[in-house]
Each structure stands twice: as structure tokens, then as C-alpha cells.
Symmetry: C2
Subunit: 337 residues, 2 copies
DNA sequence: TTGAAAGCGCTAACAT
DNA sequence: ATGTTAGCGCTTTCAA
């Protein structure tokens, strides 16, 4: 079933059918109706490949996500989808594995799908100009920046929170409430990524509070999954004692709270827990997780706004930094000596 | 950058480049090397649209998901992706909104992307033959069956658990442990979907245990989100009393446990909770949720196996029913009178 | 082993 | 208002 079949059925030319299909105004109402009817009854759907091939440019925006299952990404994906849709573009969602190179994947996707622009979700923080060379369309790093790479700020766009500053705030919230033995649960202290940034914020907060860093309080999971977070927290408990833990992500914090409880510590009576992200589910843990909520909807909206400004030539690249909001929860208590 | 540019750069014809790109054997090693080198340095990626257009059939399998954010779907999507990949096909992931018609979306996707087959995740349970008429390629309903539709069993494939039977098991687990005032938390008793099936299992289990159905114990949320689950559980608590709740999904159960706690009930001391699904996170609630785990990996694997058997003509349609496994958890206690 | 050329389904000039 | 036709980038006969 092609456009020619429809044309034949209606006794018109292919261009007329094409015009109807693309909502061009110069078609008589009668013919338009006839064509639409034929399209409907034949269940005809235009072949996108042929369209893409012939159109000067597509209306596709790519979204490359590392780990669609990441709880924190869900609302961001949703927002991006909505924003792209509202702007009249088509979203092409592409998920990659943790091992895959997102820039490589993005470049392939961009060329094969003729993308106009790209949103990268959950990518690396250390691109070099060579890495991004293959990407010849506008792109926005969503939820991260190139803090560890050599990519100039003028050569890419981003929307994110200030990971270091927010981590600083989270830990300061603990010191403000009297905690001094504060552990940190993270992926790795030098992953050149989110862990490292948030770890720096932790260190700076301790320093500013006159607390010296105790390596025993640093728990590295080496991964982002719940099982490792649980395990590391158990080990942490056996290794040393502390009155609070700063966890770099909500999901890990859920596992950490479980580990604390299984290790005989009540949250928040014996140990406080604070995290960053703010996934919906952590509002339903017992106790509710105290966390710095990322503005997921705005992150997605803003990413698309920046991208389309670039795509449509309204503006050049830019970097936007958003802020978190403290969701008080019940996992942090004030220490009264 | 097209195949012609590469051809020119190497001083060969486009057909030769095409042969190299498609791993045809009849190219001299020298030329092959030269072409590959040019491809690499030019960052050339073949235009997929052009390829799709000219190839008799694509190597694409579609996965249409309603709600990518659904925790329970994550591992299934992962498994499908892996299986499709391993079989040498390309997965096209398409997420739809809750309002959208998945068959409509699937049909469009199928035609525009020339899909060979489709996996439907989280679709409706009540298709009619007319609904699926537009779908002229093999498809598999993953995690559901057409229990409420008029579609003949011979005209589609499915992989799922027996929702009614599994719900029956879950509730029987409660009655076996002495519970008789058993509430149920679900979306709707007649949604012609998963809720309705699991509700039937609940009713049957009560009947078989000689317990009469009390309408006050039936809590309908009207939606699948956490907030509604929480609210309905709070209302349930005010309305009547009970010693156990059967929740039709893990995610809702997490919210329910919170509501019970906030309503002054300890789980499992004052109220037991059992659910179906088995998402990773519910293993980290306090207490660990007792639930019937769905074999998510197998659901995905089997869906792809069935689909490819159909696509490659090895076999016709078929229906596979898998079983859940009880994850004991700590949210159910035995009632000792 | 290689090249020339047809044509996949569609859109957008350019004609009429 | 409608039709004719030239490609878009690619794969694949068919010929050399």
C-alpha cells in the first residue's frame, strides 16, 4: 500500500494525495475528503523512511538515555516528550546500555534518523572536543555538565543542578542539625561523574564545618544499584559508627535505610539519612526520605527549550543551572547532645 | 556525506562501497580496507531511511510500551531489548501515553518503520478483531492476554501470568495464615483489565475460604499512581477494619504500607500486606514486601522467542503462561487467635 | 571483482 | 486546483 495505490483508488495524482497528507491548502474540499476516506479505509500510513529521505530536514529530536529504568529519569523523559510534542516535533527515544558510548550512539542516531537536535540524558561528564566532533547538530546535556572534560563551555549546552553545591547543602543540613560523624554513600569518589562532584560537595561542607574527613566514613559501591548500596551500608555499619549518612541518590538511600534498619539502627533515631534526587517513591518509605528534590519537569522543559532555540536559530548554546528544593521528610533528626 | 562521497574519495563505485558496508564477500581486501578507512575518517553513517526504503524488509522489531516509567516494566524492556539484539534484529522502542490507543500507535509504527514484528507491553485486555485488523504483522501481547475482548486465541500471541490464579494464590496465602478480614486495593473492579482479573481471583479465594465478600473492604483507586493508592488506603482505614490487604501491584503496595503506618497500623503486626509483581525496590521497604514475583526476564525472553518464531515462519501464534514465585518478605504475619 | 543503472515511496518544484 | 517528474540515499540486479 503506497501513495500511488491511494492515488489510483481516488483517481487523482500522487501529488494530490501528498498534498492532502501534508495539509497543503491548495486542494479542493471534495478531493481532500475522497482521499482521506481512501486513506482511512485502506489503513494507509505513509512510509516514514521515504518521507525522511526526501524532506530537506526531519522534524525529529533525539533523546538518548542511559538507563530508561532509572527512577529519576522517568519524569524527565516525560517532560522532554511532552515539550517536544508540543513544539510540533517528533521524539525519537533511544536507550543505551551502561557500557555504550552515548556520543557514538547519538551520532549514529542523528545521521540515520536525520535528527535536528539531541537531548542527552545521563551521559558522561568528561567529553573532549574530539568526542563531540562527530555530532554536527545541536545537543543539550540534560542533568549533567562537562565538569571533567576539556570541552569548552561555548561548544555545548546543558541544564542541570550544581551537583557540588547541592551536595554541600545536603551535608550542611546535617551539620546544622548537630551531626559531625557523617558518612557518605556513593558510587565512587573519582568516577569523573556525579559521584565525584557530590563527594566534593560533601568534603567542602565538612571542611566548612570544621570536621576533618574520615576515610572510614566513605562508602563506595562501585555501581548504582540497590544491592550494592545495601551491601556497602552494611559494611559501613560494621566498620565504624556515625549519626548520619549523606547518600548521593534517592534510590540508593532507600537501600541504605533498609541496611541501617537490618543492622539494628533506627532511622532517624539512631542514624539520619539525607539524599539528593527526589524520586516519587522515596516519599513513601518509612520514614519518608529527606531529600533535595531535583526539578525534573523543569529540567526536561528547559532542555527542550534550549535545544529548539538552537535548532531554530533563535539563540546559541547556553547553560542553565536549576536548584533543588528540600523535601523535609522524616529521615533526619536534630542531634541534641 | 553520502555513499557517493565515500565512493568518490576512494575512487570506486557506490555499489562497491555498499558491498563493503553490507559485508558482501565479493570485494577485494585492498578495496575493502580503503573504503572502511574512508568511512571511519569521514564519520560516515549510512542513512537508515534510504536503506529501509530499498530493502525488501527491515530488521526491526517494535516494542510499544504504555508507561516506560512503570517499575515493573523496566526489567521486561531490558530483557526484550537484549533478546532482540541477540537475534540480530534492531529494537524500535516506542512509548505511548495512557490515553493513546496502542494498536493504532503500533500499526503506524509498523508501517512507517517497516517492522517485522511487534511486542506490546501494557496494552488493553479487550481487543476486537477489527481493532487488530490494521496490524498485518505478527505481534505478541506481553504481560497480558485478551481476556475481555472478542479476539480469537488463534489470532494473536501472548506471554503472561494467569492474573486471576495468581491473585487467588496471594489471597489464599493470607487465608492460610488465618486472615479473614482481607481488604483489596486495586484500580477498579471492572476496568476490563488487570485489576478486574486480580479482583476476580480475590473473590474466588474468599469464596473458597468460606468468607463472604464485604464491599467495604474493596478499595478502588481509579488510577495506578502512588498518591491514589495512599489516599484510598487511608480512607479504607477510616471506613472499616481488617487484618490484611491484598494489593494488586507492588508499587501501590509501597504506598499502602505507608498509609497503614501513618494511620497507626504496624505492618505486619496490625495488618499484613501482600502484593503481586515483585519490583526490585519493594525488597527494600521496611518491612520487605511479601509479593508474588513475576518472571520479568522470562516474560521478555519468551515474548521475543514467540515473535521471532512467527516472523521467521518457524511456528504460528501461541500463548504462554508463566508462573510467579512467592517472595516471602516480612509484610505478612500468621494470625494466632 | 567491479560498475552502471533501476527503483524503493515520497515531496516539491514546475507545468498545466 | 491538479498532474508530471526529478531526485532523496541506498541496495541490488545485470553486465562487463
Amino acid at each position: 500500500m503506497t501513495i500511488r495505490d491511494i492515488a489510483r483508488r481516488c483517481g487523482v495524482s500522487v501529488s494530490t494525495v501528498s498534498r492532502v497528507l501534508n495539509n497543503h491548502p491548495d486542494v479542493s474540499e471534495a478531493v481532500r475528503e475522497r482521499v482521506l476516506e481512501a486513506v482511512r479505509e485502506a489503513h494507509y500510513v505513509p512510509n516514514n523512511s521515504a518521507r525522511d529521505l526526501v524532506r530537506p530536514q526531519s522534524d525529529s529530536i533525539g533523546l538518548v538515555v542511559r538507563g530508561i529504568g532509572n527512577l529519576f529519569f522517568s519524569p524527565v523523559i516525560h517532560a522532554v516528550e511532552q515539550a517536544v510534542d508540543e513544539a510540533g516535533y517528533t521524539l525519537v527515544l533511544h536507550q543505551i546500555r551502561s557500557g555504550e558510548d552515548e556520543l557514538q550512539a547519538a551520532a549514529s542516531l542523528a545521521r540515520s534518523k536525520r535528527l535536528r537536535g539531541l537531548v542527552l540524558l545521563g551521559g558522561c561528564f568528561d567529553y573532549t572536543p574530539e568526542d563531540t566532533a562527530a555530532l554536527d547538530i545541536p545537543f543539550v546535556c540534560c542533568t549533567y555538565t562537562n565538569s571533567f572534560g576539556t570541552l569548552g563551555r561555548e561548544s555545548y549546552s546543558s541544564v542541570s543542578i550544581d551537583d557540588q553545591a547541592e551536595a554541600y547543602q545536603a551535608v550542611r543540613e546535617l551539620t546544622r542539625r548537630g551531626h559531625r560523624r557523617i558518612a557518605v554513600l556513593l558510587d565512587s569518589v573519582n568516577d569523573h561523574s556525579i559521584s565525584e562532584l557530590r563527594y566534593k560537595g560533601y568534603c567542602r561542607a565538612l571542611a566548612d564545618s570544621g570536621i576533618s574527613l574520615d576515610p572510614a566514613l566513605v562508602a563506595e559501591t562501585g555501581a548504582f544499584d540497590l544491592a550494592s548500596a545495601y551491601e556497602e551500608t552494611r559494611k559501613l555499619l560494621e566498620r565504624t559508627d556515625f549519626t548520619a549518612v549523606f547518600v548521593i541518590a534517592d534510590s540508593m538511600a532507600v537501600a541504605a535505610m533498609k541496611a541501617l534498619r537490618d543492622g539494628g539502627k533506627r532511622v532517624p533515631e539512631d542514624c539520619s539519612v539525607i539524599a539528593i534526587d527526589g524520586v516519587e517513591l522515596s516519599a513513601y518509605t518509612i520514614p519518608t526520605l529527606t531529600t533535595l528534590i531535583q526539578p525534573t519537569g523543569e529540567l526536561g522543559d528547559e532542555a527542550v527549550r534550549i535545544l529548539l532555540d538552537m535548532v531554530e536559530g533563535r539563540a546559541g548554546n547556553r547553560h542553565v543551572q536549576l536548584h533543588t528544593t528540600l523535601r523535609p521528610g522524616g529521615s533526619v533528626r536534630t542531634l541534641t547532645p
